[in-house]
Amino acid sequence: MLCAGTGCVSNRSLEIQTALESELKKYDLQDEIQVVLTGCNGFCSNGPILVVQPDGIFYQMLKVEDIPHLVEEHFLKGRPIEKLMYIPPDKKSPVPKLSDIGFFKKQQLVVLSNRGLIDPENIDEYIAKDGYKALAKVITSMNPDEIIEEIKESGLRGRGGAGFPTGRKWAACRGAPGNEKYIICNADEGDPGAFMDRSIVESDPHAVLEGMLIGAYAIGAANGFVYIRDEYPLALKRIKYAIEKAREYGLLGEGILGTDFNFDLSVNRGAGAFVCGEETSLISSLEGNNPAPRTKPPFPALSGYMGKPTNINNVETWANVPRIINRGAGWFRGIGTESSKGTKVFSIVGKLKNTGLVEVPMGITLREIVYDIGGGILNDKKFKAAQMGGPSGGCIPASLLDLPIDYESLTGAGAIMGSGGMIVMDEDTCMVELARYFLSFTQDESCGKCPPCREGTKHMLDILTGITKGEGREEDIEILETMAKLIKQTAICGLGNTAPNPVLSTIRYFRDEYEAHIKDKRCPARVCKTLIRYTILADKCTGCHICFKNCPSDAITGEAKQIHEIIQDKCIKCGMCFDVCKFDAVRYE
């Protein structure tokens, strides 16, 4: 029943009629479904109006463009289209609840519980959210051993990457001989695409300070450092300001909270060397030396800053501490999996609809992060893999989307938890090029101290670059694997030990792509430019001229309505012609 009252007709309901009839004919439905013109419905403001009987479905504000979709969905497939229906104003709920939105629904906040809620530059707002209550609790009612026991009991593991049990680390430093001890907060977050620590310091700096104060009290340290990279100006400003305010309140300095506990902190800016995320390099840099790692043992817990016992934890680890003290180890143990307790903060970036910072319980699946929280892949393309743990980590392919995320399962899959950087890639990513990119990063950041890392990664990079240029040899995959294993075993520090991971994991899951590059000289994702060649198919080209107009390097010749051609010398292989061609006339090989 299509309204043909004056109101609807002037809103073009007769054009709707024509469109409806022709679409119905297309599906041979003209005999089953009758289009009846009616008089005015009375709801002229929302015209043209179409009522579908016998169900009484009320469509409003129709446009000619809506009709093909409507006929196909509703009349052919029997699925009325809600979007085009009238919803009474009192039934409308267009603004959803935050807890119903995928991005927020699956998150559980512990470390980020104050995010977006408090002014990070106002210490009183932190105190109003139970801030410094855990510190007051430990220094008035707990002895250091009880605190360490509580942290051990909670199952908290280092959030910087390696996942070493925090309580055991503290205990080792507390038990180390000597009276002069130090604690350090590692805020030298260097993985490309990772910004968990920056965001925690920016939104809740006092939580980090409080965690450090509790750690210092438990370990017996009187001095500490926040080592933060200089590329984080806002985080740097906020942590400095937080320290200043905490000092004014007597939460740092001498006689903290009226007791005889003394502790103070200074801030050191990192100059952007990736290797400084490694603890012995960081300490070397703090001491004023070149940031080069040294072999362990001795571990920093015995001999760290200036040769004194030193405990280093990452920002997120420290920020977990006050929450564990306030709520108890049992509460914390209740979150997560058997081996990995609590939550983890991830920065989710790449080809996702929603990107940002998320905190999820350990054990959540990658699928939930990518599809429920991340909203799926941009432009509804296919998920290919997620790089976990940045240049030190590995990729998780689509076949492992249901893998529960915890320290052990990620390591088993060839990736690492890392500090929480998660880069999601779609079908247009070339995995060989990805491995080459990450290796070029670590190669560049290698400090040069040990040969496996300095020389080995260089050779691996040369081989990978060759493969992406079509110069790969049959034996390359095997050589890469052998070198990777050797470097992992022999490099001095974490940087070298993990640098080959992206190569190993891409070979493990995407060996076919390596083979396509090496044997067929072909890049399946059409990323590696020397391996692709665009041509125009003469039998399909209509001479519409659209590729000619869009080509950024004037590499296409041809007059309108004539067959076009690509001049290979000028072609920069951007793929624009392929994307704009409506007739599938552009082919790549």
Binding site: V95, S99, L234, L257, V358
Partner: protein, 126 residues
């Protein structure tokens, strides 16, 4: 002032009374999210747009404050508006023009600007 453990509770109570929109002097609290992501996408302009709205309307019961990133970096600049005891509303992808409309319709008129609002309510804190 050097604090004693008991002072923490006093500060907490004082702060809660200041930020209590039902009982305190402020009727509405606007939080502009200003992490690096927010600032990079223009949160400073959004903050000044809200401040000039307050000035233009001559209202004294609107509290404007800032905080860190709200997590959904791809929808910055973002602001959360709390009015009385109503659940907070998060507005995303803000521009100066959107701020004007939100201020007029929601802050002054109490009507949620549906087109710009992401969601109503708070996050799940464990």
């Amino acid at each position: 002032m050097k604090l004693k453990p008991s002072d923490l509770d006093k500060i907490a109570q004082k702060m809660r009374s200041v930020t209590n929109l039902r009982k305190g002097t402020a009727r509405i609290k606007i939080t502009v999210h200003m992490g690096t992501c927010g600032i990079a996408s223009g949160a400073r302009d959004i903050l000044s747009a809200f401040l000039s709205c307050v000035e233009e309307e001559g209202v004294s019961d609107v509290l404007i404050t800032t905080s860190g990133c709200a997590g959904l970096c791809s929808r910055e600049p973002m602001a959360t508006i709390e009015a009385g005891d109503k659940p907070p509303v998060k507005y995303v992808d803000l521009t100066k023009e959107k701020v004007k409309r939100i201020f007029k319709d929601y802050v002054m008129g109490g009507k949620i600007v549906e087109e710009y609002a992401l969601a109503i309510g708070s996050e799940r804190v464990l």
